[in-house]
Structure formats: structure tokens, C-alpha cells
Amino acid sequence: MLAQILASLVDGILLGFVYGLAAMGLSLIWGVMRVINLSHGAIMALGMFGTYLLFTHLGLNPYLAILLMAPASLLFGFLVYGVAVHRIINAPYLSSLLATFAVNMMVIGIGTAVFTTSLYNVDFSLGTVRAGVLALPGTRLTAALAALLITAALYLFLYRTRPGKAIRAVANNRAAAELMSIPSAQVLALSFGIGTMLAALAGGLITTFFPFTILSGSGYQSKSFVICVLGGLGNPLGALLGGLILGAMEGLIPIALPVSWVPVVEFTLFVLILLIRPSGLLGART
């Protein structure tokens, strides 16, 4: 029994790293520009299919494919920001919700036309690592490690480089940042690009252990909302912790309740946290 709990917990936490990575992008975008990015899930799906195409048709190692996708998704993020978000960045938030949702519809629409909604998978394995009672799939360990490395890189970028500091300044107070001659439009575009990139990377990592369809993104997007609220909306590094909490919950709840109750617990918790502490368990800080 104890072994089973331990196994589920570790399994959930490993998955939680990847969830956290996905939510980080959402949280960063919210923190910097107060936009809830409803195209997040669609972009994750794009990341999944990007990895799939590079792996299946060019025969690349999936991790190399994910690495190659990073700059492409950054550029895609700039494009989405320039076309859909920039014009309405100061409008009531309904506009940004609907604009990003429109992007979501376009991506999903084109994706459905090209790939249909059938199930795909990246047939890739790194064997299994055994440690005592635990049997851990290599791909999950690697994905968790990759998520940790990306988080560390994001942390260094935000706290140690000038563009990163500019992002934090704009998140803190856009008007004041502009007075300090920080080009806020470029900073916003950069944040949106990074948020998009994180979503695509998380999508790519997920393909190495779960099958997916073009519609899979929306489930992960909902999870990302829960994680963002757990970790503090607008606090990208808290998102990783939120991801771990959600992952652990997903590992542990099925021991006590049927698996299908997991979303009930997750989303009830989500609404409760919003009500009691809207800034999230860890508080909002960028």
C-alpha cells in the first residue's frame, strides 16, 4: 500500500513538472500584460504536432525537435501578439479574452483540417529506470529534468539579464517603466513570445509519453489555469510549484476516489482558492 502511494506520488510529481512548465507561460503573460491567453492550449497542441512532424518525417530525436521548435514558437508568439493582442492591450479584458480565443479557433480550425481529430503519438522510449519499488519511465524523468532546466533558465533570464528585468519592470508598473524609457510594446511582445514558447515546449515534452490529438491542448489549458491560481497568477516561478501540487494531487486522489473524480476536486479547489485568496496560495509576484 505504502509502495503504491509512493509510486503514484512520484509519478504525479514528475508529470507536475511538465504541467508547471505549461502553466508558467500562461502565468507570465497574465503577470506582464493582464491578458488571459485562451490560445494557450492551441499553442500547446501546435507544439505537440511540431514535435511529431519533426520526429516522424525528419527522424529527429524528439528532444532535438523540441529544441528546434523553441525559436519558431517564440516567433509565432511575436506574430500572435502583433496581430491579435497589441491593438487591444488597453481595452477591457473581454476584448483580449475574445481575441486570444479567436486565435485558438483559427489554430484548432486549421489543425483539424490538416490533421483531423484522430489520435497521434510519438513512438519513442528511453527505457525504464528502477529505484527500489519505483519504476520510472525514462521519458518522464527526462521531461521533468528538461522542465527544471527551462525554469532555471527563465529565472536567470528574468532576474539576471536586462530584457528580463525590463519584463519584470513592465509587469510591476507599465507606465513607470515607460517613463524609464523601457520600450513597453517590445517588452510585451517578448513576454508573449516567451509565454508561447513555454507552452509549445511543454506540449513537445508531453508527446514523449502521452498520445495526443489537435484538441488535447484544451484539457492542459484548464489544468494550467488551476496551476496558475495555485501558484499565484502572474508568478511564473510559483507556477512550477503549483504544477507539482497538481501533479501530486493527480497521483494521490485516484487512490481514494475513482479517477473520474479528479477534475471535480481540481476545479472545486480552483474556484475555492480564487474566492478565498485570489492572488493564489503563494501570492502574485513576477
Binding site: 491593438r87 475574445l98 480565443f101 471535480v264 476545479f267 474556484v271
Partner: protein, 322 residues
């Protein structure tokens, strides 16, 4: 002001009545099916507009009331043999009750936090119904064919459902005019512009918001019961589609947020456009992408929607286009 003297009042009602009445007069089944879907969206959009258009609170969970009210009504019909009319009212009341309970808690949140919470409520409700035994779990509920005997056969039952749909739509549209021009509605509009200022001026914001939420939730419950009764079955996937919530939002934006004619025209236009895109061979597989493009263009360039734009551009139309 007598409302029936105001074109802004009777124009939308007349549109619904004529549009809905044609199918009743001609007695054509295909026309009825088309108009049922269309009126359903008109009524859903108008009822959401009472909350979103007037108070400015964006609700992504409007479809929760459609789903839960529909489930309640359908459960009473299929398991307890209730007649459609009391069952639909019970569905509406169940939704209104849920909204009252939720509203007291969730409406304390403002702006995007409220929007996020409603997304969470939608997901939680779907997951809950998926697991809830009496509602049939993931497979949902079916109506026994014998139920139709009470109405004199299946065709009569469907026509009755359609007539009730037309009536419900008329009531929603009429009520949204009445609310907008009442003291209560002016309070809601004040909340939309500036909630703190409205409270300083004596608007009881928490009560008013909750009441608007309850009114806007009552109708989806009725519509849900009618819709699922017409379909003969209900399952969680159909009842709680976040997509549908957002489509209704799009319809309101298309026609004009906070107007009365706007949601009516927006819902009709969106529904027809989707029908066209789905059936045309060229756009069939890309219909979602085109709908997205249309939405993006509206949000970026005419955020006030069709009616809002016309009202601003041609002030003499304001008396007609409320």
C-alpha cells in the same frame, strides 16, 4: 414612456415573432429544426446579455445553467414522468437557485478573476455530472418513447417544444428591454461603468449583481430542458461545452454588447454563417478557422458590435435600435 410606443422595444420582439411564427404557420419540419436552433441561441445570447452586457461581468459559465437546468428538467421528465412545461420551469428554477448560491460567492470577484472562476465552475460542473449516478454518469439519460404519448405523439411533442421555445425567446427579449429601462437596470449599467462609484451613489451592487445573475441563469435552464427534450437524450459532453459558452459570447459581441437587438441579430447571423460554412464544400473543414477570423476582426475593429456601431455612426437610428 409606454414601451409599445418605442420601436426599440417592439422591433426585436417582432423579429423573433415573425421568424419563429413562419415555421408554426408553414408546419415544415426542416424549417422548425433550423429555427429551433436559431431561437435557442437568440434566447441564450439575450439572457447572457442581461449579466454581461448590463453589468460587464464576463461569464464563461453561462452554459452551466443550460446544462444543469437541462439535466434537472430532463431527469424529471424521463425518470418521474413530469409534463414538459412544469419540468422546464423546474429546470429554470434549479438554475436560478444555483446562480443565487454561486453568485453570493463568485460575484465578489471582479474582472478577469470572475471570468476565470466561471471557467472553473463550468469544468467542475461537467466533471461532477460525469460522476453523478442519478443523472446517468458519462452516458447520460434517455427519454422513453412512451413519454410522447402524453402529448399525442412525437410530432406534436416536438411542435409543443418549438412553441415553448418561441415563447421563451419572446419573454427573454421583452424582459431584457424592461430591465434595461428600469431603475434596477440603470443600477446595473452604473455597475458596468464603475462599480465603486455606483455603490457610493446608492446602488446596492451585491444584491443587484446577484439578481442579474439569477435572472440571466433562469432562462438557460428552461432552454436546456426544451433542447434536451427535443433531442431525446442528454449527456455531459453536450450539456457543458465551454465552446458553446464562448460562441454565445461571440454572438453578443457580433451584435453589440449591452443592446437588446444586438444579441438577437448577432445570434441569428452567427448561427446562419456557421450553417453556411458547415455545408459549403469549400469551407467545410475550415469553418472554425473562418469563425475565428471573423471574431478577431470584430474584436479588433468594431468592438461595439453591429448595433453599437450603427448607433454611433447614425444617431437618428438610436430610437429604433435599442
Amino acid at each position: 414612456m409606454k414601451p409599445w410606443r418605442q420601436p426599440g422595444f417592439w422591433l426585436p420582439l417582432l423579429l423573433v415573432l415573425v421568424g419563429g411564427g413562419v415555421a408554426l404557420v408553414l408546419r415544415k419540419d426542416t424549417l422548425r429544426e433550423m429555427m429551433f436552433t436559431l431561437l435557442m441561441y437568440v434566447a441564450l445570447a439575450s439572457s447572457l446579455n442581461i449579466l454581461m452586457g448590463y453589468t460587464g461581468y464576463v461569464n464563461f459559465g453561462h452554459i452551466v445553467f443550460f446544462g444543469l437546468g437541462g439535466y434537472t428538467g430532463f431527469y424529471l421528465i424521463s425518470q418521474h414522468g413530469w409534463h414538459l412545461i412544469p419540468a422546464a420551469l423546474a429546470g429554470g428554477l434549479a438554475s436560478a437557485l444555483l446562480a443565487a448560491l454561486l453568485g453570493l460567492a463568485v460575484l465578489r470577484l471582479r474582472g478577469a478573476y470572475f471570468a476565470l472562476a466561471t471557467i472553473g465552475i463550468n469544468e467542475a460542473a461537467r466533471a461532477f455530472v460525469n460522476n453523478f449516478g442519478p443523472f446517468g454518469g458519462p452516458t447520460g439519460l434517455f427519454v422513453n418513447f412512451a413519454v410522447y404519448r402524453e402529448y399525442g405523439g412525437a410530432p406534436q411533442a416536438l411542435w409543443l417544444t418549438y412553441t415553448l421555445m418561441v415563447l421563451t425567446t419572446l419573454i427573454v427579449v421583452g424582459l431584457s428591454y424592461w430591465i434595461k429601462n428600469s431603475r434596477f437596470g440603470l443600477g446595473l449599467l452604473a455597475i458596468r461603468e464603475d462599480e465603486d462609484a455606483a455603490m457610493v451613489m446608492g446602488v446596492r451592487a451585491p444584491t443587484a449583481k446577484t439578481l442579474a445573475y439569477v435572472v440571466s441563469a433562469f432562462f438557460p435552464g428552461i432552454i436546456g430542458t426544451l433542447f434536451f427534450f427535443k433531442n431525446g437524450n442528454v449527456e455531459p459532453g453536450d450539456a457543458f461545452r465551454l465552446q458553446m459558452s464562448i460562441e454565445v459570447l461571440v454572438m453578443i459581441m457580433l451584435g453589440g454588447n449591452g443592446t437588446i437587438l444586438g444579441p438577437v441579430l448577432g445570434a441569428a447571423a452567427y448561427e446562419r454563417l456557421r450553417g453556411y460554412l458547415l455545408t459549403s464544400p469549400l469551407f467545410k473543414s475550415l469553418h472554425l478557422a473562418f469563425a475565428g477570423l471573423a471574431l478577431l476582426l470584430i474584436v479588433l475593429f468594431i468592438p461595439a458590435g453591429l448595433i453599437g456601431w450603427l448607433r454611433r455612426r447614425f444617431p437618428f437610428l438610436r430610437r429604433w435600435l435599442e
